[in-house]
Symmetry: C2
Subunit: 323 residues, 2 copies
């Protein structure tokens, strides 16, 4: 049976290999992804983001359990942009700790960055498509941090959970400015800690003062206590599930889902243009040794980056007009 058919049938080994081959940019990988593409777009994609230490993996783990109770198959993509050099080994360990690795209805993969020249959002988008083609009902994308590239990754999701913990300090206002725009549901984790009440109050006040059009979604806040007080934790996870489900219903009814799918498509096209235009040019400059000599000239102030880049653009682009 060919690879793509195996993936439609949910075969873990074929899916894992394709994701890896896409990451490694092997030439046979992209045609397969193109074949798969028509079978994508049906999964519900949930993004989970927040600062390091916020307990995102614990929540992901709990959500997997909830979805499995409903007989939903789950794909999990853990993206770790904070380990650009360690190759995601630490994350790999963390993911392996999840209790669902033996469950056939759960497929877990992790991605880490591949150097400074970008492409992580593209790799995440590709991996999500493979999981969609496998027929996963729900895909959870977990990412660390709230920088620009993490936002790009989280834009692959339909519903976004932002995980906060009490006691983040003075700059929480600054942080909230960024996450207010992307959060569909807030989860306050470790809500047995001091500062929880203050965080809830601040967040509620910020949410109530945000100017929102009538009928639009107002992100609910779910406060989740200690993992080691199982009864309360399970109850709160169920509440979180309900809020995610409410948000999904809102997306469908309000027509927002179509807008999010459009934003997602736009980002995927942007990623693909980077991969099909900029990357081959960079690779050619690397192979010919030119990138090295240009770097030296720029470093020694014998040339400036823009004059060099414009010359490269003239060489590779058909028309001079667009410069």
């Amino acid at each position: 049976m060919e690879t793509t058919k195996k993936i439609y049938a949910g075969d873990v080994r074929s899916a894992s290999r394709l994701i890896r081959d896409l990451e490694d940019k092997l030439p046979q990988a992209r045609p397969r992804l193109k074949q798969l593409f028509q079978h994508t777009g049906k999964s519900f994609i949930i993004g989970i983001t927040g600062a390091p230490g916020a307990g995102k993996s614990t929540l992901t783990n709990a959500l997997i359990g909830e979805f499995r109770k409903l007989n939903k198959t789950v794909g999990v993509l853990a993206v770790d942009p904070t380990s650009p050099f360690s190759g995601g080994a630490i994350l790999g360990d963390r993911v392996r700790m999840l209790q669902h690795t033996e469950d056939e209805g759960v497929f877990i993969r992790s991605l880490a960055t591949r150097g400074a020249l970008g492409g992580l959002s593209q790799a995440a988008g590709d991996a999500i498509h493979v999981m969609e083609a496998m027929g996963k009902d729900v895909i959870i994308v977990e990412t660390v941090g709230i920088g620009q590239q993490e936002l790009d990754i989280i834009h692959h999701a339909h519903s976004v959970i932002v995980v906060l913990v009490p006691g983040m300090g003075d700059e929480i206002q600054t942080m909230k400015a960024g996450i207010m725009e992307i959060a569909d549901v807030f989860a306050i984790n470790k809500a047995d800690r001091p500062g929880t009440k203050q965080l809830q109050t601040e967040l509620t006040s910020l949410l109530s003062t945000s100017p929102l059009p009538t009928g639009s979604w107002r992100p609910p806040i779910v406060s989740i206590g200690n993992l080691y007080e199982p009864a309360g934790f399970v109850e709160k996870t169920a509440e979180l599930m309900q809020k995610i489900s409410d948000h999904h219903a809102h997306l469908l009814i309000s027509g927002q889902l179509a807008l999010r799918m459009e934003r997602k498509a736009l980002m995927e096209i942007n990623d693909a243009l980077r991969a099909c235009i900029l990357e081959p040019i960079l690779n050619q400059l690397i192979e010919s040794g030119e990138l090295k000599s240009i770097t030296q000239r720029v470093k020694n102030r014998e040339a400036d980056p823009y004059t060099e880049a414009e010359a490269i653009a003239r060489r590779f682009l058909k028309s001079g007009e667009i410069l």
Copy 2:
């Protein structure tokens, strides 16, 4: 007097306008930057990064004071990738609070992201070049978070201070994996809080077990207490200054500075290629309305992003070979 000459003379208004024009991508801005480029490369560039709430602005403020005592002129670039939609207004407020805005020897600017299509590292690089051309002795680049794009921005710096605070929780190991690679000096801020000792111990143990070649720099740790205990705070800031100065000396003596300048040049070329190749193509697709129709086709699964991007590549690129 023409703009570039005014900038060499340190004129704040001309420099501010050029930075803004570069951000807004006005056509007259880039030729000016190209002219300035030969006058750049002489400033010492310090990066400050860490999670939201770590107290980076407080440290930046203190370092400005220390450098001013030494009669060094200072440029500060505050980059806020966490506020992609708020346009950096909150950051602007924070920056205005700094006590050095009346000092002619200090030039402070802030940058925020401009939408999802990238370019923040490029904008940061451009702004740094303008400050270098102004003749600033020291440029401090402050950025929030430790995601990939923040790492790109921090690569514009020669020495990187990573600011930590006690009590970040279990995932600190994960976070450290990323920052271990970029930190030249660690500052533990709010070191009067519980958990400081534990953080120091963890960090020291991690540093001592990292395999480093002989003679290489081992990042020192400076623990800084409460801003409101002025005597201790000033003493610790002076210690931080000493460590930064030690690191600068190490960069010069070991030849590492040349390597960092090379890495910086490489990143600037990458940014410029994006600006000169990918951006004009995207702009043309936006203006012609094609990007909209491609997005619809991809959203409706009538097309896949890679097939579309390959077609665009064939249309704009001279040779078919590099696909």
